[in-house]
């Protein structure tokens, strides 16, 4: 669940993907695999930057294609959704199957998990039925070795009858082996005897009723054996697509439908109903993959002990929650204390640059240098100085947690409360993605199968602070509650405050989920299974590079793109005067009475409103507004503390502002994503109103109750 420019915001929910060849000789290859086996890593390593992403036609299932060139041929690689099976129980499985059957895949690479080979073979065997030119790529070999799992790839190759290569995704040499095997496979040099799935006797007999006829009618365009069984089991998801592909709906042919009926009668002799048949099919496939793995994999007893021990600690009754909170605290502490010094350096440097810019502009009209330097540049400088260092520390840390396999444990720990709210435990995962970016978290909600639970997860995603809100909360915490000197105790206290804010956000997520499932999204929790993948040693170098490039720079870029024009607009509003008052003062004045009720002032509320495109710019707007009245020459925290103090901020203002920042409307990108994912403006409106109402009520209560005592 990487957070990249393509997984965030609009790009993630974009239009459908079309397969494009560069040259007519290019071979279209589907990359299949279970979720979390490093399929994307392999795909990325093979295709580099030459990728297009989109959705599968008519489905909200992400798709990607990329181009890979070897010495012998060009390949259009299509990353099909990660699934465990192709029996079309979910939108992903259907999309994967449809591409293999009808999408024009000439060959397939099935990425398998060496640490969990047998289950991966389940999918491999099903892919081999649809696409005999299959290459099995056993990934994570290094990890399997570390766990004391021995693999015999030669034996596996013999069992499967298709080529098998072992890879370790970050080892370039193994990828070379993969592309060489792909060359041999696609040029027809490799001899193939793909192992066929075989079923229990009555099922085989039923297949035999329809298979010969289907072969006669359609040849090998669709594997007749496979098609026979799908028709007998009455797979409704197939009919339309197969009809389009074959030019005629197979069942409209009376002979075929009679043969299918004969097959069903044959099953009925053994008291196999269609429901039982589907069970038998799944069990048979599992047994087939057991056979395929036979002799190819052996595991020493107890070699997963380290994982078990870690799990006993991290998900244990006594320490599970304390460790979770402690980890959060440590992450924030590292972020705050680590970001302090570089932040000061950056603001000093950017401040100096600003003065030079002012000098440079001294010949220009006052309003031009005002708009550009005091407006756009200052705001931009502030966003960079305040946001870059914490993000450059926070994101890599967060990615490390993600890579290590800890996040699914968080979902596991938090499932019970979600269950009580009649929601899905996977919501904890989308919530965690929300820490990065709410829009990405909302797109991530696709992993939740039940529509009701998915909507709950989408609408409540904005309750966790995204990285646009973090710097804001961090800054206010340091300025108001801790002091700005930045010693150990102080940064620890800031971390505690931010942690408390996050916990409040999580608590609000529960409350809001409960509220939704008691009101507009009533219903029972659906079934839930969650894989707890083995702990992995994160690849530090890669994590740092990836999170810096993908997340930090992307988020900063977005903030900057909004901040600079917003800064210019604010400066204009503050400096255009009508009847002795600036436009800005009229706006903030109008908002002021309402904002005061909530413990804030008009400037703050207006900053939140103007911050709709991106939360990152709320603080810069507040500063700009105040500066147009006072003046702020340096961009340091003590100067900020002074500025806010001069403008009447008290600890109550800070608390209410932090609270409102935690709970107000999600950014416009998130709202558009909700509309797209949930299918309607009314859900976007609900996503807007839910946190906003919570924030307004929360701030009102804090402001009014604290007002009683002071």
């Amino acid at each position: 669940m990487g957070l990249t420019s393509s997984s965030t915001g609009f790009a993630a929910a974009e239009t459908s993907l079309e397969i494009k060849r560069h040259a007519s000789s290019d071979v279209v290859v589907a990359i299949a695999g279970n979720p979390n086996v490093g399929k994307s890593t392999i795909f990325n390593a093979l295709t580099g930057m030459r990728q297009h992403t989109g959705n599968w036609p008519g489905k909200t299932v992400a798709a990607a294609q990329g181009y890979c060139e070897t010495e012998r041929s060009g390949y259009v690689l299509v990353d099909i959704p990660g699934t465990y099976s192709l029996l079309a129980h979910s939108a992903e499985e259907e999309a994967a199957r449809d591409f293999l059957c009808f999408g024009g895949a000439e060959a397939a690479v099935v990425v398998c998990d060496a640490t969990c080979l047998q289950r991966s073979l389940n999918l491999a065997l099903q892919v081999m039925e649809l696409c005999p030119k299959t290459l099995v790529c056993v990934n994570l070999c290094d990890e399997a070795k570390r766990r004391g799992i021995t693999l015999d790839l030669k034996q596996l190759e013999e069992n499967l009858g298709v080529p098998v290569v072992g890879t370790a995704a970050h080892d370039k040499r193994t990828l070379k082996v993969l592309t060489e095997a792909l060359d041999r496979l696609c040029s027809g040099e490799t001899e193939l005897h793909p192992k066929r799935l075989h079923y229990i006797k009555p099922v085989e007999a039923a297949i035999a009723c329809a298979e010969p006829l289907l072969r006669e009618r359609f040849g090998e365009r669709l594997d007749p054996r496979w098609l026979a069984l799908r028709l007998i089991e009455g797979d409704k998801t197939l009919a339309a697509e197969a009809g389009k592909y074959l030019g005629t709906d197979p069942l409209s042919d009376p002979e075929i439908s009679a043969a299918v009926e004969r097959g069903r009668l044959r099953l009925a002799e053994d008291e196999i109903t269609l429901d039982i048949l589907r069970d038998r099919i799944v069990s048979c496939i599992t047994l087939n993959s057991e056979e395929a793995a036979d002799g190819a994999v052996s595991e020493c007893a107890g070699c997963r002990r380290a994982d078990r021990r870690a799990d006993r600690l991290l998900t244990g009754r006594a320490l599970g929650f304390p460790l979770m909170i402690l980890l959060l605290l440590v992450v924030f502490w590292l972020t705050i204390s680590g970001a302090n010094y570089p932040s000061q350096l950056l603001s000093a440097g950017l401040g100096w640059l600003g003065e030079r810019l002012s000098e440079l502009m001294s010949g220009a009209p006052w309003w031009l240098s005002g708009v550009l330097v005091d407006g756009a540049y200052r705001t931009l400088a502030w966003v960079t100085a305040v946001m870059l260092p914490p993000m450059a520390i926070f994101f890599p840390l967060f990615t490390l947690l993600e890579d290590s396999g800890y996040l699914p444990r968080v979902a596991y720990n938090l499932d019970k409360p979600f269950q009580r709210c009649n929601a899905c435990g996977k919501q904890a995962l989308t919530m965690a993605m929300g820490f990065g970016c709410n829009a990405a978290g909302i797109v991530g909600c696709r992993i939740i199968d039940s529509k009701r639970e998915r909507l709950i997860a989408m609408l409540t995603n904005a309750f966790v602070p995204c990285n646009g809100k973090f710097p804001f909360i961090l800054t206010l915490a340091s300025v108001f509650f801790v002091g700005t000197a930045g010693g150990f105790g102080e940064s620890a206290l800031s971390a505690a405050i931010v942690t408390a804010a996050v916990l409040l956000g999580v608590g609000m997520t529960f409350a809001a989920s409960k509220f939704l499932s008691a009101t507009i999204l009533r219903g029972q929790p659906s079934g839930f299974t969650l894989e707890l993948p083995p702990y992995r040693k994160p690849q530090f170098g890669k994590v740092i590079v990836r999170s810096l490039l993908d997340r930090t720079l992307f988020v900063l870029g977005r903030a900057a793109a909004v901040a600079a024009p917003a800064g210019a607009v604010i400066w204009i509003l503050a400096n255009v005067t009508v009847d002795g008052g600036s436009l800005l003062s009229y706006c903030t004045g109008a908002l002021d009475p309402f904002a005061r009720l909530l413990g804030m002032d008009g400037v703050i509320l207006m900053a939140f409103i103007l911050g709709l495109p991106a939360n990152e710019i709320v603080i810069p707007i507040i500063i700009m507004c105040y500066m147009s009245q006072g003046s702020l020459t340096e961009l340091s925290l003590p100067a900020l503390a002074q500025l806010l103090g001069e403008n009447g901020w008290t600890w109550r203002t800070a608390v209410c502002t932090m609270l409102f920042s935690l709970m107000h409307w999600p950014c416009s990108t998130s709202l558009l994503t909700v509309r797209k994912e949930a299918g309607g403006w009314k859900w976007a409106l609900a996503a807007f109103l839910l946190p906003t109402c919570a924030g307004v009520i929360g701030c009102f209560l804090v402001a009014q109750i604290s007002g009683l005592f002071i």
Partner: protein, 82 residues
């Protein structure tokens, strides 16, 4: 003796007999490998008592008690690790 999977305690191993649930949850349970004859070991319980984690065919999978209740198992002949 037939038991429900949620009655298996951490460290215990059982063998799947049958599933008494239909529809999408049945498929999901089958997909993760809970077919007749599969050995399942309970490897832990989450801090609040539910869900529990089971080792199924080499993968560790968390299942809520409300769902694992519908997986009927018998005790494994021997208690050794998978």
């Amino acid at each position: 003796m037939e038991k429900c999977l949620n009655e298996i305690k951490p460290g215990e191993t059982a063998v799947v007999e049958r599933l008494r649930v239909h529809g999408s949850m049945r498929r999901r349970l089958l997909d993760i490998g809970l077919v007749e004859g599969t050995r399942v070991e309970c490897v832990g319980v989450s801090p609040m008592g539910d869900p529990a984690a089971y080792c199924i065919r080499g993968a560790v999978i968390a299942i809520r008690a409300a769902d694992s209740r519908d997986v009927l198992v018998r005790e494994a002949a021997d208690g050794t690790d998978l």
